[in-house]
């Protein structure tokens, strides 16, 4: 007996489960982002050596590692479907909104896994002392959501192109600049101050960025997907 499941919240979760299962079997993105992250982190850590850096440079390096590592993996989410010719399966069976939210969820899980590896290592290797842990994690969470929202729609756009690498860099830089500026500043404040309210400005900016990017993605995705 079959059971109808028309809930639009549930369908993206099936896409998430499918992508997780595929990822666990072929490590298409996970190996790339974790290796890239570890390499970047090691290079940064060795090049700094015993020097003590100020909080602005440390937080810039922190977001630099997350940005480059995530770029190498998160953008693959649609490229993989195009290259394996499975994109038409999704088009035939699911609405564009379902696909977008499913892919967003997968990228979010992937980024959180990356951060579970990177953040403790960065803190230990860079000998970081975080004065305001709640602010640090709030900035990290909102920054991650923003990063996922923007890279997912960029991934959908570049997957249709023949010059994927070049287009990724060109599109990502201007779109992610406000997010990186707010993320770096919010992280710096969490290293310098015990006062959570000091980060309200950056948190507000990051929150707005997430809302704007998510809304823009939903509105744009139909055109990108069906082009």
């Amino acid at each position: 007996m079959e059971i109808k499941s028309s809930n639009w919240v549930v369908k993206p979760v099936w896409i998430l489960f499918k992508d997780l299962k595929s990822e666990m079997r072929n490590r298409y993105a996970l190996n790339t982002i974790v290796m890239f992250a570890l390499t970047t982190l090691t290079v940064v850590s060795f090049s700094i050596g015993g020097f003590s850096l100020n909080s602005r440079i440390t937080s810039s390096l922190f977001w630099l590692v997350i940005f480059f590592s995530s770029m190498s993996g998160l953008a693959q989410v649609f490229v993989k479907e195009e290259e394996s010719k499975t994109v038409n399966l999704l088009k035939l069976t699911a609405s564009p909104g379902t696909v977008l939210v499913g892919k967003l969820l997968f990228n979010l899980v992937l980024l959180l896994v990356l951060e579970v590896v990177i953040v403790p290592l960065f803190i230990i290797w860079m000998n970081l002392s975080i004065l305001n842990l709640p602010l640090f994690f709030a900035v990290l969470l909102l920054g991650s959501l923003g990063l996922v929202c923007s890279t997912t729609i960029i991934a959908a756009i570049i997957s249709k192109s023949h010059i994927k690498g070049a287009l990724l860099a060109v599109l990502s830089f201007p779109i992610l600049l406000p997010l990186l500026i707010a993320g770096i500043d919010g992280t710096r404040l969490s290293l310098e101050s015990h006062d959570f309210s000091a980060g309200f400005g950056d948190l507000g900016l990051l929150g707005s960025y997430v809302v704007v990017m998510f809304t823009a993605s939903i509105l744009l995705f139909d055109f990108v997907w069906n082009e």
Binding site: I3, K18, R25, S84, N88, L89, L92, A94, S95, T98
Partner: protein, 205 residues
């Protein structure tokens, strides 16, 4: 009662015209064979009909009991088998069918999955990864995907490609059954398949 109508369809890829002014109408239980030389746009036309790509001009109208359906409403009416369509190689046949059914909005019963696997002749191999399948087995699995939700409109591109004699018999049985229950469109250059169409559309002529 399902019907499908193509009104003045045309498609260009950049400056290159593939086809234009394609007009036809298929009532319930109607069938069409599309033929034409390589590159004449048979596959492209099938993709436009089921909404995978947009036409440059014209429109496709899908009607259910006289009411025009939107792309979202008509998505689950189509079953499609074509070389351009690949199933997930890193999943098993059962996992593929189960996942694709779930994102259609239906949680499939295990006995229904087993039934369709048996029908396409893949029993005993349903838990193997698709990457281990031969091209003929992949084609059979594509039939399982296309038929599992009992589509009203079945689109077949080179329906017997990669199939052995037993597989060709299966494809012919599926085609005959579809002619009795819904709309059927076949893109082919195989002369034996021409008999399945109430109408024949020659592209590139």
């Amino acid at each position: 009662m399902i019907s499908l109508e193509s009104k003045n369809l045309g498609k260009w890829f950049g400056p290159r015209k593939i086809f234009e002014e394609i007009d036809f109408s298929l009532p319930d239980k109607g069938s069409l064979v599309i033929t034409g030389k390589n590159g004449s746009g048979k596959t492209t036309l099938l993709k436009i009909l089921c909404g995978l790509i947009r036409p440059t001009q014209g429109q496709v109208l899908i009607r259910h009991d006289g009411k025009n359906l939107t792309t979202d409403e008509s998505r689950n009416l189509f079953g499609l088998v074509m070389p351009d369509l690949e199933l997930y190689a890193e999943l098993t046949a059962l996992e593929n069918l189960s996942f694709l059914s779930r994102i259609r909005g239906v949680i499939p019963a295990p006995e229904d999955l087993k039934k369709i696997i048996t029908r396409v002749g893949l029993e005993g191999r349903e838990n193997d990864f698709v990457f281990s399948y031969s091209s003929g087995m992949k084609q059979r699995l594509k039939y399982a995907f296309a038929l599992f939700h009992e589509p009203d409109i079945l689109l077949l591109d080179e329906p017997t490609a990669n199939l052995d004699d037993e597989g060709i018999e299966l494809a012919e049985e599926i085609i005959s059954l579809q002619k009795e229950k819904g709309v059927l469109i076949i893109a082919t250059n195989r002369k034996e398949d021409f008999e399945y169409g109430d109408k024949i559309l020659q592209l590139g002529s």
